[in-house]
Symmetry: C2
Subunit: 275 residues, 2 copies
């Protein structure tokens, strides 16, 4: 692991690091904020970003450091896809390839060589973080935005013992039926099959996966709400399955980091109370 | 004035606007954060950015919105220079031209046509803000970072009745003697003369300009500290002149927005207490 940068901030250290990853067969960049040292290792909160983003968007615009430092939470922000000249991509398509890994393990060539963001985050990056940072791997939470909200929900639903808390900003609730994600699923996973359901929060709940409590914020002025995000599908699935969910709808808020940063501190406090 | 974007954030509105400016003979972009409406117009705090920046850096990375919304402060973030194809520039020089207006009115051709950031901010943009936003022009403060700290200090020292408060992050204290700013001063203002002293905080204080109280934060790990910033020169001048100044030195902090955002809220509270 190489240090790209480390900056003192709010009494902690905001770092950016890179390493060559086996699961994605390329160099990966990620950010970690370590709060000021305390006597015990910090709980670890994973933030997964949305389409077009990399590790830096939430690091710069998310506004998590003040309260994360105060509460003593470490925050890791992975990239959203493999990247590099050797990685197959569609440069003009923001909903596929670079910046659009959808937090799944691709099964279809040529994408299956690199696009394994599920294994990368849940296994390889996890091991690296455990090895290099003073964090408590028994106290992990996960959250994210949009495609990263989808990533957080699906990873938590499949790993309820690992993650103690899960929340999301404007998550893609059912990517297997949304126009903006179906083409990517088809390229990564082939024709629609049970494989798709492993990476779809609503389907996972329907198939019996359980997480005790979810917390979702959604802007009412979000232009992706009706077609892409549809949090009501998530609420419906949760209610049927007995999963407790709090969905807050926010008038006039959109899909941007102006929205995310407004409610970031509510999410940090919520995670902290469960970690 | 045209709206480029307006996003709801922390209960207020973060806007970005553009207009054709007479003083700089080009289209200028600026950002305004309006806090949630109260019964009385909001006090107005000017934030001037540093070299290479435009209106967006502090808007994205400064972390001012949470507390500005809570306190009810409007924040305006101008650009740092004129820009455009017709504006003379040195594209490979980050210390002159675009992004490096130094908050002065140039006297030398061809720069004097466009590089009039002092008049632009103090007169033209001020009138526009007064006209278009519900702010209290009797309650104005000013702060900034690096070159923008220089801008804030010099504008406050020359307009102590207009600005009720002035603070700075890592300001350029004496640009007329710093290697990184002297070449720009020469191109904008000609050979060294009394004209230079109008845009230099230390010189202005030596020449009898007075501001009751200044507040400065500086990182000790700031790579520009010794050569470019030198806050001790400002402290020395203030002490001689009977100007109250609080300079806080912060171990391990650098020149970045990771530093600025850490202490942003202290500055907002400080300004609010004087507005």
């Amino acid at each position: 692991m190489d240090i790209i940068s480390e900056n003192m901030s709010h009494g902690g250290v905001q770092g950016v690091y890179k390493h060559v990853a086996k699961t994605t067969q390329c160099e990966m960049t990620f950010a970690v904020f370590m709060p000021p040292s305390k006597k015990t290792p910090a709980p670890l909160l994973w933030y997964l970003s949305g389409l077009t983003c990399n590790h830096s968007n939430v690091m710069e615009k998310g506004g998590y450091r003040r309260l994360a430092a105060e509460l003593g939470i470490a925050i890791v922000c992975p990239d959203t896809s493999p990247r590099g000249e050797s990685v197959p991509d569609e440069k003009d398509n923001w909903q596929f390839g670079s910046g659009a890994g959808f937090y799944l393990d691709a099964t279809e060539l040529p994408f299956s060589v690199n696009y394994n963001m599920s294994s990368y985050i849940l296994d390889e990056l996890t091991e690296l973080i455990d090895d290099k940072f003073d964090v408590d791997m028994n106290r992990q939470g996960i959250f994210g935005h949009s495609m990263g909200g989808h990533g957080a929900l699906t990873m938590a639903l499949k790993n309820p013992k690992r993650f103690r808390s899960c929340s999301a900003f404007a998550p893609i609730s059912q990517p297997t039926t949304a126009d903006w994600s179906m083409p990517a699923f088809q390229k990564y996973l082939g024709q629609k099959s049970d494989e798709w359901r492993k990476y779809d929060a609503v389907s996972l709940i329907e198939d019996g996966n359980f997480f005790p409590k979810l917390f979702v914020d959604q802007g009412e002025a979000d232009s992706f709400l009706e077609e892409g995000l549809r949090p009501w599908l998530l609420v419906e699935a949760c209610e049927k399955a007995g999963i407790e969910i709090e969905l807050r709808m926010h008038k006039n808020y959109d899909h941007s980091y102006f929205f995310i940063s407004t409610f970031m501190e509510d999410h940090l406090r919520w995670h902290f109370s469960h970690l």
